[in-house]
Every structure is written in C-alpha cells, then in structure tokens.
C-alpha cells in the first residue's frame, strides 16, 4: 500500500467529505489488512480523534464504535455472555492478540472479507450497522448490497437477545485463515445457519434454515437432513487451502455439530 497524504479528522462530516472528495481517499482504521494490499491512497483518513472506539451497553443492545479493536470486543464482559459468547470465541481465533489489538470491528465489516471470522458469527446475531449518511442498515442487507457509494461506518449495534449460538473455524494452524467457518444460532424456535470462507463471502443456508425452522421437533434425522440441504444449496470452491468437496463435507459436519450443540 502507498499513502500519499494523511489527515486526522475532527468530525464525521469532515471524514465523509474527504472520503468523497477523491476516489483514492480512504479511511484507514487499523490499517493492518490494507498494509498487505497494493492500493494507492491519496489521503488516508484517520478517525482516531472521534472516540469511535467505545463500546456502550444500553438496555437493548451493545453499541460498538467502528474503531473498537477486535480485542476490545473480544474482552467486553457483556458480549462474553450474549449468544453464549459466540463473538468473543470467534474473535479469539483470529491471528494472535497483537493483531487483534490493531484490527478494528469497522474495518473487518467494511472489508467484506471472504475469509472473515467476524462476519460469520455476527450474521447469526441481530446486527445493525449505522453509517454517517446512509443511517442504519442490517448486516444481512449490507452484505448483499451492491451499493458502492462511500460512507463512514459509525457503529455496529448488536441487539440483546435470549439466544444460543455456536461457531467453529476449521483452520490448519492457529494463525491460519479459515478453510471454512460455520455459525448457528437458535432464538426460541428459530435457527440461523451461516457458512463463511467457502472460500467466498459468508452466506445464510436459507433452504436449510427453512427446513429446520419448519420441523416440529429437531430430531437427529432433521439435523442430518438440514446439513445435507445446506451442503447442496451453498456454493463451495477450491483454492490452495482445500477442495470444494472437502469444504462442503467439513461444513456439513460442523452444521450437524452446531445444531446438536444449540438444541442442548
């Protein structure tokens, strides 16, 4: 990455205007991932002065400032209990503490990284993103949106819900990217199943979700069938880490385990 200029902004308005002034201007959050790209940035926009690194717990939600680091989020006491701590667990699987002390929740969402271990657990929770100009949008809509207009992500809002969840990252070594990752949540009788690093961007297994949500009782047969449906409906791919077939089978195995776990 090459950076030609650097501006620490004093307001969100200034950040937004600067971001849209030149196609090559960009917000640099942790800057950890951008470092590995070959991007040329005309002006790097630093949001550090805007106190966007706070995590606030309200009656109904956790509001996480976009500049909060992954480590801050991982260690937040309240979040450790939400959806039985699935987010903290997932974040703890990303590289080591030193990277999680730099990488931010905002950068991890805006990047829409296909390998993400952040997006997969968030997708099975009830999450809204708050942008400076565009306002609020659900994480689900953001991930499928083709809107390329530039805006500043201000906060990530995770609604408090009585729910259980499961996450598994299949990886070859502790520092590696996921070969595939799976998150499942169960709120009352409603299940959400998300599979990421397929190796493309995380997606809901919608047909599998519909099947398990329609079932009168989640028996072992229903679990096996749900995993089979997810394996059939989701697209998997081959890259240097794993073949398409391997990913599909691993994902199905962890969907079964995850379903068994959340119905306990």
């Amino acid at each position: 990455m090459k950076i030609n200029g650097y501006q620490t902004v004093k307001s969100l308005e200034e950040a937004y205007n600067l971001l849209n002034e030149n196609k090559q201007n960009a917000i640099v959050a942790g800057g950890a991932w951008m470092r590995l790209s070959s991007k040329v940035i005309e002006t790097a926009i630093d949001l550090s002065g805007l106190e966007l690194d706070q995590i606030v717990e309200t009656k109904d939600a956790f509001e996480i400032g976009a500049m909060a680091t992954l480590r801050q989020v991982e260690k937040q006491e309240g979040l450790k209990n939400l959806y039985n701590g699935v987010l903290s667990k997932a974040l703890s699987k990303i590289m080591g503490v030193p990277i999680r002390n730099v990488a931010t929740i905002g950068g991890s969402i805006i990047g829409k990284y296909s390998f993400s271990d952040v997006l997969t657990p968030l997708l099975v929770m009830n999450v809204e993103l708050e942008f400076y100009k565009k306002g609020k949008i659900s994480l689900e809509d953001f991930l499928v949106s083709k809107d390329r207009s530039k805006d500043v992500l201000v906060k990530v809002i995770i609604k408090k819900e009585e729910a259980k969840a499961y996450f598994h990252k299949m990886q070859k070594t502790g520092l590696d990217f996921a070969v595939v990752n799976v998150a499942i949540s169960k709120k009352a009788d409603t299940f959400k199943i998300a599979v990421g690093a397929r190796p493309s961007l995380v997606k809901f297994a919608l047909e599998a979700m519909a099947f398990v949500n329609d079932a009168k009782e989640v028996t072992e047969e229903v679990i096996l069938e749900t995993a089979l449906i997810a394996g059939k409906e989701l697209k998997f791919g081959t890259n240097s880490k794993a073949s398409e077939e391997y990913r599909r089978n691993i994902a199905m195995a962890y969907i079964k385990r995850g379903l068994r776990e959340v119905i306990k």
């Binding site: 480590r71 080591g96 030193p98 502790g174």
Partner: protein, 149 residues
C-alpha cells in the same frame, strides 16, 4: 509529516512519510531490538507495546502513534533481564531473534492476567513465532517466571 510519540518514556519527534509503518520508523531511529522478520504481521518478532498493549509494529502506521506511547524491550529492561534468567535456565533461548518480542508479550500478559492458565499463556503468545526452540522450553520458562513474582 511529524509525529510526536513517547518511546520508552522519552518524548520523540519522528519525521515520517504518511505510509511509514512503525517497525521501519523504529529501526531507522536505531531501536534495533525491534526485529524485522516476515514484515506481513505473521511472525511477531517486531512486537512492541502500544499504550501498554502488544501490537505488531509492522502492522501499525507510524502516523497512528501521534500522542501515544510505544515501549520496546529496553523500556522493560529489568523485567526482560529477569525473564532471560528463566529462559536461560530452561534452554529456551537459541538464536534469540524472537526474544525481545516474546518478552514484551509476556510483560503484557502479566499486566492483563497475573495468573494465567497454560492454555491462556499459549493463546496469548500465539502470534510470537520461534523457529529454534519448539516452544516447550519457552512455555515452561514463562510459566516459572510468572509464578515467581
């Protein structure tokens, strides 16, 4: 551009390019205990403390250190000396290239959690690779050091 940063308790002004990363700035300024290995956030030999927290200096833009505090192993000299005695006793030091980064991570771990389990020690040091020792001797040395305070 200029950056005002406290390094090991001393106020410094660094002249940098906007895209400079902290590892290169520190080495240019002769903080040579901060090692360069992979330069892509993988190995941990460039670990320093940023406001007391371990980070990989090859992954942090120097511009982001404006008004903050950076600590290299010289900034925790007494503790590093003590830790190195434990490393010596276990044969946990070979070429020593990973040691400054590891010492800083151990220092940060102790500040965060003074009584970590074996699993927590391993988890905290995941980002500090060592190509010589195989980790077992280091793990024992770190555990002994943490238990001895």
């Amino acid at each position: 551009m200029k950056v005002n940063v406290k390094v090991n308790g001393q106020n410094k002004v660094f002249n940098i390019e906007p895209g400079d990363y902290l590892l290169d700035t520190l080495r240019k300024e002769n903080y040579l205990s901060v090692k360069k290995g992979c330069d892509n956030s993988s190995c941990g030999v460039c670990t320093v403390l940023f406001d007391g927290k371990p980070i990989k200096s090859c992954s942090l833009l120097t511009a982001k250190t404006e008004g903050h505090e950076v600590t290299t192993v010289e900034g925790i000299q007494k503790e590093a000396d003590k830790l190195s005695d434990y490393f010596g006793a276990e044969g946990a030091d070979q070429c020593g290239y990973c040691t400054p980064g590891m010492a800083l991570s151990v220092h940060a771990l102790k500040e965060e959690n003074s009584n970590p389990s074996d699993e927590e020690i391993k988890e905290y040091l995941t980002g500090n690779l060592c190509r010589c020792t195989g980790y077992q001797s280091q793990h024992i040395a770190i555990r002994n050091y943490l238990e001895d305070k």
